[in-house]
């Protein structure tokens, strides 16, 4: 029951808003209630297997049911969505035109993400994600800034291509299981995979398609160029939701479907994943350093951090995947905070060109503090969730094949990924220094700080980051049962 509420509350609210309900109030209430429900679900979560399973049969012949369920992994994702949605709605400023449509789009994206994460059925998993694509297009195209229509088209077509490749992979997956065991239900598919019913050859092909499809959605190198442009042109709440939540759909898919069900495929394509993720970390990291605008820098930095999550996924052990899952959560929150503050700055200064800004912390102390906390969180400062997760990722990846005779592929990959920590500190601190520290150009002397009410969403985001930063075991405790089953099978 609670899951139906969590998934359909944003959907219902979106429809109510479109029908004429007061936009901001409804949106705030809906996201607030959803967050509350998610926290209740977190407390009530059962240790093993899936909790709160609700199932509505759709088609017996195709073995298609509308099934929702949560385990540790999906709970973390749902929690992330709930928090970022509330923050995104709260951070929405004055919308000059079509205010109702704006809030409705935000809530539809949230509903799509929630549904996708909570779905136990392959069909609805895909369908809910597609639900979220069109509102993204509208948000960027109508309420964006800069070259918004080009950015909107680019992201939509690019991601649709990725979704298409993904669909091919999922269909192949469905059909690769022998007739008798075939089902859209993830649990049954997992059973079939565990008992070795998916042939090794098929696994390799399917995994490649899934990697490509999900990869495009996650901005895996070299399919990442849609991200910076889209995030720079998007209105801040849309950027928060997309970079914070929607991008993570692909990672969730890899962790839920590709990794557990296609072990042979994972093993076979591990080298490719490692090369591409290093491209994300080192290459995109360097590109980020060269950026001269704050929004482009944040967009590229979000692409770069995907590399760490990929490293956790590639590590092939429970330590790395735990780290990956927690890093998804951490990164989503920190990037949401950063985009939110950047959006506020852009509203006031009209430009995010780093050389035009400077010393803003003097006139906008709250923004300076919030951005500083977000910046340090994202570069992996201990105390924040990102560091706890990165520790697990690095340890997990380094562990793979480690012996004392020298460095092998995973150790080299970890080494290069660690250097990424230095790279991210370089660009983030440079940007922070250029924006908030140093001497302030005359024209910004009269800027106003963030409105006082925004202290609440900022506090919420920071509190969540600090909570997992100080007590990562909270998440490790719920994630381990979810991962342990398929790691023990291997």
């Amino acid at each position: 029951m609670i899951l139906l509420f969590i998934v359909f509350c944003p959907l219902l609210a979106a429809m109510l808003i479109l029908a004429g309900a007061p936009a901001r109030k409804t949106a705030l209430w809906a996201s607030g209630l959803t967050l509350l429900a998610t926290i209740v679900a977190f407390v009530e979560l059962e240790g093993d297997g899936f909790s709160f399973v609700t199932s509505l049969p759709i088609s017996a012949e195709w073995r298609l049911n509308f099934t929702l369920g949560l385990d540790g992994l999906s709970l973390v994702m749902v929690l992330l969505t709930a928090i970022v949605t509330l923050a995104a709605v709260w951070f929405t400023g004055k919308i000059s035109r079509h205010e109702h449509a704006f809030y409705a789009c935000l809530l539809l994206i949230a509903a799509g993400a929630m549904g996708a994460f909570a779905s136990l059925d392959l069909f609805f998993f895909y369908a809910f994600h597609e639900l979220a694509l069109i509102p993204t297009f509208l948000l960027i195209g109508i309420w964006g800034s800069g070259n918004r229509s080009a950015a909107a088209w680019k992201i939509t077509i690019y991601l649709a291509t990725g979704s298409f490749i993904l669909l091919l992979g999922l269909i192949m997956l469905y059909r690769s299981v022998p007739e008798a065991a075939r089902s859209f239900d993830l649990r049954l598919l997992q059973n079939a995979a565990d008992t070795g019913q998916i042939p090794a050859d098929a696994q390799r092909h399917i995994y490649l398609l899934l990697l490509l499809g999900f990869g495009i959605l996650i901005s895996l190198f070299p399919f990442h160029t849609w991200a910076p442009q889209a995030y720079a042109s998007a209105p801040a709440p849309a950027a928060m939701l997309h970079a914070g939540v929607l991008k993570k759909f692909g990672l969730y898919g890899l962790l839920r479907i590709a990794l557990p069900m296609l072990p042979e495929g994972t093993r076979h394509w591990a080298w490719l994943l490692i090369i591409l993720l290093l491209g994300n970390i080192i290459y995109v990291g360097l590109v980020t350093i060269a950026q001269k605008r704050l929004d482009w820098m944040l967009g590229y930095s979000s692409v770069m951090h995907m590399g760490y999550i990929f490293l956790g996924i590639a590590s092939g052990n429970i330590l790395g995947t735990n780290g990956a899952a927690i890093l998804i959560f951490a990164h989503g929150l920190s990037i949401a905070l950063l985009f939110a503050i950047a959006g506020e700055v852009r509203e006031r200064t009209g430009s995010l060109l780093l050389q035009d800004l400077g010393g803003l912390a003097k006139v906008m102390p709250m923004a300076g503090l919030a951005f500083g906390l977000g910046a340090f969180a994202s570069i992996g400062l201990p105390g924040f969730a990102n560091f706890s997760a990165e520790v697990m990722v690095f340890f997990g990846a380094f562990h793979n094949g480690a012996d004392m005779k020298g460095f092998h592929i995973y150790q080299v990959a970890t080494l290069l990924a660690l250097w990424g920590v230095v790279i991210s500190a370089v660009y983030m601190l440079r940007a922070y220094r250029a924006t908030f520290m140093g001497s302030m150009p005359e024209q910004w002397a009269t800027l106003s700080d963030l409105r006082a009410r925004l202290r609440l969403p900022i506090g919420m985001l920071i509190a969540a980051l600090l909570w997992i930063g100080f007590f990562p075991q909270t998440f490790v405790r719920v994630l381990t049962p979810a991962f342990r089953t398929y790691f023990s099978v291997k």
Partner: protein, 598 residues
């Protein structure tokens, strides 16, 4: 109850920092009171722990993924950490009190004290951590606190740049540190110091691996303790308020590197190659910094380079396989260096923020207490018997004499340099005639600032004596060393003093000019150039490649190709009904052909 005492020492500053940020931000006086209070209570608790240590302390789980990784949050209370605890909280408390005076009129007072409390929390965490990962956590937090404090006056471009430089340089060190931790964990399966120490047998069978791991861990110390080549952040860190320079960049944070090396001595001393590298890096740092200091004109910079040089001594001692000698010097250095910095701070403030020594002069008569305590600190620093510095430096020199003559010679040369540049400083600042308006009108600092100076002068004088050394630091009593080393050391010191007096007595400006020392061996310029041709160039190339080849070429190409094919295919739409019918017919024929004959 007593097992919670160490935890309260650690957590009290954190609570203070959080309280200031969340609650008392708008009342700076209260924030200051909270912070100073927490520091003083912390010191009191440390004394209690020192006198009657608790049997065991509570341990909390941070990450538990056994059998792969287990990271607890636990405290270690052996002689080393108890000593360090006293040092950090003691000097910290004094500097908190000093800051009350120094930062009285500062606009960001709440922010300052919050950062200061955060620093205390982080530093105490390093001291008390019982495993590598926990130490790393606090290691980075210390880096953050340093960033916040160096950049306290963030509206100044120079301060903002210095803070950034400090954090980034430390990050590079942390990169090596983390890699080293990974290697240790991969081979022993644990991150806890005690467990790794007992598993050392596993790694010593692979000396190459061990050396690399040890050197990588040393990387962290190179960054934090500002050794060559990652020393460039420390002089710039003088942009921060002087109490910070005293606390962080003299007594505690930079000492963390040395402390860490001593904590993992079981690892470092198992690899002779690592020890050699460490010793030489320490020596190079000591000499280089000493040479640079002789030509600096900013009082804080001179002290900063002096700190670098003394840290070099400590690292040298670690490399000569004696953690005890290193800790001894760390201990005495903390007192007299803090004293010197606080004294410099008093001078700077009373001269309205003048920092150039050539604009001072004749202050001995005007700032008597400051002069007196500064002199004590100087005598301790240059190793004049019977001050504390003499004993600790002597311990290191004796070690070097025994183990490596080349290093000994260089260490002796550095002792000469130390005496030279410090006396240069004292002569130019305190003697002669006042060289500027500010110097003319200087008067003594208020008691809240001179008080700590007097308190610090006592250990600066006494801390070296055998009683302290042997009881607390287990420095072996070198019977057989004879008197050669102390005589040589004192001789070098006297030569330095004499040369300084000769050159700098009654001068208006600097008579010698070595550009290479004044320009710090051009290392800052070299690094800027190096970063320019590697990181910046690569970044530009990558950005270009991304924008024009992947995006415009790849993605733009794909969409352009689609457009192109579409614009070609549209010519099939001739608009002529009969042409369509004809094509239709052709298609049918083809279909029939392929179904029947295909």
């Amino acid at each position: 109850m007593s097992s919670l005492l160490p935890w309260s020492v650690l957590l009290l500053p954190l609570i203070s920092a959080a309280g200031i940020v969340l609650i008392t931000r708008r009342w700076p006086a209260i924030s200051a009171f909270v912070s100073v209070g927490s520091a003083v209570i912390g010191f009191a608790c440390s004394c209690a722990i020192f006198v009657s240590p608790p049997a065991a302390t509570a341990e909390f789980t941070w990450i538990d993924l056994r059998p792969l990784l287990y990271v607890p949050l636990g405290l270690i209370l052996d002689d080393l950490s108890k000593m360090m605890l006293l040092l950090v909280t003691g000097v910290g408390a004094l500097i908190h009190i000093y800051s009350l005076g120094y930062m009285r009129d500062d606009a960001g007072k709440s922010r300052y004290f919050a950062s200061l409390s955060l620093f205390m929390f982080s530093m105490l965490g390093i001291v008390l951590a019982n495993n590598f990962v926990m130490m790393f956590i606090f290691w980075e937090l210390v880096g953050l606190s340093s960033y916040l404090l160096i950049g306290h006056w963030f509206e100044r471009d120079s301060a903002a740049e210095a803070a950034k430089k400090a954090f980034l340089t430390n990050r590079i060190g942390d990169f090596g540190f983390m890699l080293g931790i990974l290697m240790i964990w991969a081979s022993t399966g644990s991150v806890l110091f005690q467990e790794v120490a007992s598993q050392m047998g596993r790694i010593t069978a692979h000396p190459g691996y061990l050396s690399v791991a040890a050197l990588l861990i040393f990387c962290g110390a190179v960054g934090k303790s500002a050794q060559f080549p990652l020393h460039v952040w420390l002089p710039d860190a003088m942009e921060g308020p002087t109490p910070i320079s005293a606390l962080i960049h003299a007594a505690t944070m930079v000492a963390a590197g040395v402390y860490m090396l001593v904590r993992v001595a079981f690892l470092v001393q198992a690899s002779p190659q690592a020890l050699t590298v460490i010793a030489w890096i320490g020596t190079i740092t000591a000499v280089m910094a000493g040479l640079i200091a002789t030509q600096q004109n900013d009082i804080k910079r001179i002290l900063a380079y002096s700190t670098l040089s003394q840290l070099g001594y400590m690292v040298m001692a670690v490399g000569l396989a004696s953690g005890e000698a290193a800790m001894f010097h760390l201990f005495t250095h903390a007192f007299f260096k803090a004293l010197l910095f606080l004294g410099a701070g008093a001078i700077i403030v009373m001269l309205h923020h003048e920092q150039n020594i050539w604009k001072m002069g004749g202050l001995a008569r005007k700032l008597r207490v400051t002069f007196f305590t500064f002199l004590i600190g100087t005598l301790a620093l240059i190793g004049c018997p019977p001050f504390s510095g003499f004993f600790s430096k002597d311990a290191i020199l004796a070690l070097a004499f025994e183990k490596n003559t080349a290093i000994f010679a260089l260490a002796l040369f550095t002792a000469f340099l130390t005496a030279f540049y410090m006396l240069r400083l004292v002569l130019v600042v305190f003697f002669g005639k006042p060289r500027s308006e500010n110097a003319e009108h200087g008067k003594e600092a208020p008691f809240v600032m001179t008080g700590p100076l007097l308190v610090l002068a006592v250990p600066a004088f006494l801390a070296g004596f055998g009683f302290f050394a042997r009881t607390f630091l287990h420095v072996p009593h070198a019977e057989g060393a004879g008197h050669l080393v102390p005589i040589l050391a004192t001789g070098a010191m006297l030569v330095g003093v004499a040369l300084a007096v000769l050159l700098y007595r009654k001068r208006e400006s600097d008579p010698i000019d070595f550009a290479i020392f004044r320009r710090r061996f051009y290392l800052d310029e070299f690094y800027a150039w190096l970063i320019g041709i590697t990181q910046e160039l690569l970044a530009k190339i990558a950005a270009f490649f991304d924008r024009w080849i992947i995006d415009a070429g790849g993605v733009g190409g794909a969409s352009g190709a689609t457009w192109g094919v579409g614009s070609l295919l549209r010519f099939l739409q001739v608009g002529n009904l009969q042409a369509y019918a004809f094509l239709f017919g052709l298609g049918i024929v083809g279909l029939i052909y392929f179904t029947v004959f295909g």
